[in-house]
Each structure stands twice: as structure tokens, then as C-alpha cells.
């Protein structure tokens, strides 16, 4: 039985790690701006497309990777300045609509550039190589993803708890207006949040697309939504929560894809019944359950809405 389940756990942990990197961006932005940044998944996709074109232009890969991260960060920063900053005092619904608009724009822009066709992601040496873990074979990236994620999260938590900008972030997420009154340069803090979020999305995209190497304009939508669900599940605003939520969702999703086989092996069903159809829907079911049962998520703080 273990041999049957192990491959699903393996791919679940890997996908979960990639969701986690996107989820951190969601959770930080939500923590500070109370905004679901619908465009975040698309930033992740754009990072993938930038890599495709940079590699195609003949630049060596060791140069491409930092460039991709740099450009992705710039994209995230510009989106915030162009589409969210002007709406700072507008109702929350307007900002959310703007986020949806940005997502729509990014997707259409990529559709235009690529002509609507899948683009092959470049092969990055070492992490694309195949390795064996017990009986299962997988790419190196699958194995290093969780470790890389944990390392990045530790670094991020240190940044938030030990540095000045981190303190400012915590202050802003606690009380937007008061921290403004206390002299915190709110726009800088928000920009920093977007920069960190986009950077992690960029790293996530390198890992994700190395594993599943094609990029199309819609590639970011589903991972983005799932990462958001992970952020809510873990408790929005909590970085460790988002990471744990992402791993849980990644693993559950893959178990569901393999559930038919597991049931078959246990002799419960004789033919696949198509439960894999629900692999995406399950994530949303989980979201709704958590929202009803424990709206603050696993690790979220209780927030009281002020009238």
C-alpha cells in the first residue's frame, strides 16, 4: 500500500511547495491591504513567459534566472503602483475589480505575445534531472522544492521579525491608519510587500515550470486560485499558515487524483469512478468548509470588523 501512495505524496509535496511560494504573496498582500490580489497568479505565469523568452534570446541560463526574478519583481511593483495605488481610498470592491482587470490584461498580453500557443519552458540543468527515491523516479526539483521553501520562509520570517521594514509591515497590517500617523511610509511598505511576493512567485514559477514545462496565458490562474485557498486555509496574514495550507492542498489534490487507484487496490471498486474530476473542485470545497467552520483559518488571528 505504501508503494502505491508514496508517488502521490511525493508529487503532492512538490506541488504544495510551489503553491506555498505563491500563497505567501497572497497572504502578505491581504494582510496589509485586505485585497485579494487576483493578478498574483498571473504574475507567476508572466515570470514563466519571461524565462521562456529570455532563454530563447540566447542568454545563458545562469544569467536568465536572476534576470527573471528581477523583471518579475519589477512587474509586481509596477502593477501595484499603476493599478492599486490610485485606488487606495476607493471601496474595496473597486480595488478587487482592478485586480481582476489586471489579471485579464496580463493574460491577454501574454496571449498576444505568444499567439495563444503553449511555450516550452527551458530545461534548467541539474534540477530537471531525474533521480530515484526508493522505487519512484522523479525530477530533482521535486525533492529540493520543500527544502527551498522552508529556507525561504525562515528567511522571510526573520526579515519580518528582525528588520525595520519587517516591523513596519507588521504595524501596517495591524492598523493601517494608525501606522500612517506614526510616520511609517505606507507606500514603501506596500511596495516592499509586492516586491517580496513577486520575488517568491518568480522562484515558484521556476520550480513549477521545470516540473511541468509548458507555459500558456492561463497557466497561472488555477495555481493562483489554489494558492489563495491555501492562504485562507492557513489563516490569512500568517506566513507559516499559508505554507502549511499549501502543502496540505498539494498533497490532498494528488491523493484525490489517485483515489480511484487506491480504492481499486483495496478492492472497494472494480473500475475507476472518475473521482479525479474533483481534484480542482476539492480545493474549493475545502475553502468553503474552512470559511464556515473557522473563518480565520488554521493560524489566523481573530479580527473584529469595525463599524
Amino acid at each position: 500500500m505504501w508503494d502505491t501512495i508514496f508517488p502521490y505524496l511525493l508529487s503532492g509535496v512538490s506541488v504544495g511547495g510551489q503553491y506555498a511560494l505563491i500563497a505567501i504573496g497572497y497572504t502578505m498582500v491581504y494582510g496589509i491591504l485586505r485585497l485579494i490580489n487576483f493578478a498574483h497568479g498571473d504574475v507567476f505565469m508572466v515570470a514563466g513567459i519571461i524565462m521562456v523568452y529570455l532563454a530563447a534570446s540566447g542568454l545563458p541560463l545562469w544569467l536568465c534566472i536572476p534576470l527573471v526574478l528581477l523583471i518579475t519583481v519589477a512587474v509586481g511593483f509596477l502593477i501595484e503602483r499603476a493599478a492599486y495605488k490610485p485606488l487606495r481610498s476607493a471601496p474595496r470592491m473597486s480595488v478587487m475589480i482592478s485586480a481582476i482587470g489586471v489579471s485579464y490584461t496580463l493574460q491577454n498580453l501574454v496571449l498576444y505575445i505568444t499567439g495563444g500557443l503553449n511555450k516550452q519552458y527551458p530545461t534548467i540543468p541539474w534540477i530537471s534531472e531525474t533521480m530515484a527515491i526508493g522505487a519512484a523516479k522523479t525530477k530533482v526539483v521535486t525533492v529540493i522544492t520543500p527544502f527551498l521553501v522552508i529556507a525561504l520562509v525562515v528567511a522571510l520570517v526573520l526579515l519580518i521579525n528582525k528588520t525595520k521594514i519587517g516591523m513596519a509591515m507588521r504595524a501596517v497590517s495591524k492598523d493601517f491608519e494608525t501606522s500612517q500617523l506614526m510616520g511609517i511610509k505606507i507606500n514603501n511598505v506596500i511596495s516592499a510587500t509586492f516586491i517580496i511576493g513577486s520575488f517568491l512567485a518568480g522562484v515558484g514559477s521556476i520550480l513549477f515550470f521545470t516540473n511541468y514545462p509548458t507555459v500558456i496565458q492561463t497557466s497561472g490562474a488555477m495555481p493562483g486560485l489554489k494558492a489563495f485557498v491555501a492562504a485562507v486555509f492557513g489563516g490569512i496574514g500568517s506566513i507559516p499558515g499559508a505554507v502549511i495550507g499549501a502543502f496540505i492542498i498539494g498533497i490532498m489534490e494528488n491523493i484525490i487524483k489517485g483515489l480511484d487507484v487506491i480504492l481499486f487496490k483495496l478492492g472497494i471498486i472494480a473500475q475507476p469512478v472518475g473521482l479525479a474530476t474533483f481534484s480542482d473542485a476539492f480545493t474549493f470545497a475545502l475553502l468553503i468548509i474552512i470559511l464556515i467552520v473557522k473563518p480565520t483559518g488554521l493560524f489566523g488571528e481573530k479580527v473584529t470588523d469595525k463599524v
Partner: protein
Amino acid sequence: MKKLIALVLAVMMLVPAFAMAEDVIKIGVYEPASGSNGAGGKQETLGVQYANQETPTVKIGDTEYKVELVIADNGSENDKAPSAAQQIISAGASIALGSYGSGVSIAGSDYFKNANIPVIGLTCTNPQVTAGNTHYFRVCFLDPFQGTVLANYAFNTLGVKTAYCLGELGNDYDQGLIEYFKQSFEKLGGTVFKEDFPSKTQDFTSYLSNAVAYGAEVFFCPVSIEYSTLIIQTASAQGLEMPILGGDTLDSNKVAEAATGTNIKVIITTFYQEGANEKFDNGFKAWLNSDAEAMTNNGGNDMIAAVSVMGYDGYYMALEALKNAGSTDGAAVMAALPTTEIDGVSGHIKFDDTGDAIRTSAFVKTINNETGAWEFVAEQSVE
């Protein structure tokens, strides 16, 4: 506000004036140029475009007409099909060709029917495309045939008893072909496990694990080019040992590229094998090499896709029908099609009572993992 309305009205006045220049006949090309079948659709369109630049005019009655292609992108999505079909219809096409993908063909079908425009399906292999209507024809073989060929090949030649089938949810081509494969394979005494993945899936690792866990000996995935390249790449990373079996959609240089340098054995059935018609092969390659845009649309090299051949044959079929009809009127062309015959690159083409080309054989091909070229295995037919 007033200005806006005035502007809108002005535009409305301007646009509908579809001035029909004299002696031009329009042929609609109803193909995906984007979405999951975009790559295949572009290659199919290339076949039509090549035929069009080879024979840019047609003599109908005593008049020499210039043939103009109206290329509409159906985006590989059934909900975009109506707009694309309507684009061809409103441009005044006499006949349409397409599409790559059975779903979009069925989805656009009623629009052509209502406008009295006949359509020649190029590589839509699902029987439902032509069944129960008089305006849809097709030049390729059908899935019940293809499914049987594949099942026979897997069971008899490969000697496998258990097959794992994977299709995209809601894709009529995948679902149909898998169903016919399943029927034949089970009739032969084999076991079939079938699963579906939702559209836009990128992570196929678990499905490959499923196939292994079910104890399958062959992985049958007649999915679009985009998905099959992902499946092959993932299979290679996971060290999949069973061969991957596919239908005509996998016959693409992109798929061949994905399998190059791996240990994955890919076997498919298709309409044409490069080398069967030297004249066409050389002409087509020369054209691709002279036209940068065509080269890009073909995926960057001059390997000939079977779908391009079908596009080429479809175009000549349409010209022949126009000649036979002696008129540019859609209804007249429709009436002429059942008796139209040509000797195409892919063989002699003649329609049966449902409007399907009578085809008795399919080519079985495999990818050479070292050179990345498609190699001929056998020509299969069904008794």
C-alpha cells in the same frame, strides 16, 4: 453621450458593407490558431495555404475565379466556435474547411447548416461530426476505425492485455476515440482502465502513477499536442516503462521533439507518412523554407505533419466540388460534393452516404528517440 451614440451609429453604418469584388470566391478555413489545439490547427491551415498558393484560381463554368481564404480562429474552444463560424459565413464563403478537433466542428456545425454552407472536415475524426446532417463532409478516417486499429495493434502486435486510457474532460475527440478503443480492446479480451483530467491540467504525475498502479502495460492518451508533450516529458522524468499510444493528434514535430533523447516509446496512428508522395513533400518543404511565417507556424522545422496533407487534400476537394457545382452558391456546392472525387496526396478520396471519405487503412508510426523523426511501422487496415 450623444457623441458616443453618434460614433457607434457611424461605425455600424460603415462595417456591414461587405463589398464583394468580382470573380473572387471565398473558402473559409475554420481552424484553431490558439488554445490547446492551436499548434495542430496552424499546421492544418498551412496545408490549405500551400495548396492555395499552388492553385490560387479555379474555373467555375466559364469564369476564372480567384480563391480567397477566410481564416477564422475557433480558439480550440467550443464556446468560441459560433463567432468563428459566423465570421466565415458573414464574409460570404461558398464552402468551409475544418476543423482540427471534433468538438469545435460539432459546435460550429449548426451555424454552417443554417447558412447553407457545406463544410469539409479535415481531421475531425469523431463520427458525430457528419452523422445526421447533409452539410458536413470529411476527408479523413473515423474514430471507430482508428480505435479498432489501435486496439488491434496494442493487443496483437504489442501483446499487451491491460491498457490505461487518459482523456481530457469534455473533449469529444479524446472521449470518442477512447470509447472505440475500449470497445475493441475489451472485445479482444483485454482490460481497460479509463480516466479523465480537467482542461488546463499541467501536472500529469499522478495520472502516470495511476497507470502504473493499475498494472497497465500501455498508456493510451489520444490528447492534444500540448497535453501529450507534457505527458511524455513527465513520463520520461518518472521513468515510465510502458509505451505511450496515441491517435492522429500526436503526429506532430512537437511531440517528436519531446520524446527525443528519452526512453519513452511513442506509437501512433495517422493519415500520412512523409515520403509517400515525393512531389508534395518537396514542394511543401521548399515552401516552408521560403516563408518564415509558415516555418514558425509549422513549429520551427520542415517536418511534414499529416494534418497539413489533409488540409492540402481538403482544399483540392473543395475546388473540385466548386467546378462540379458550376456555381459559387453554397447549396449548389453542397449538392455537388457527394459525387466529387479526387486523387489526393493521402490517396483516392470519395465520400460515402454519410459524407465520410472511404478509407481503409491507417499508418502506424513511432518516434525514433535518437533522431527525433517519425518512422513508419506499418500500414494497418481492419477486416
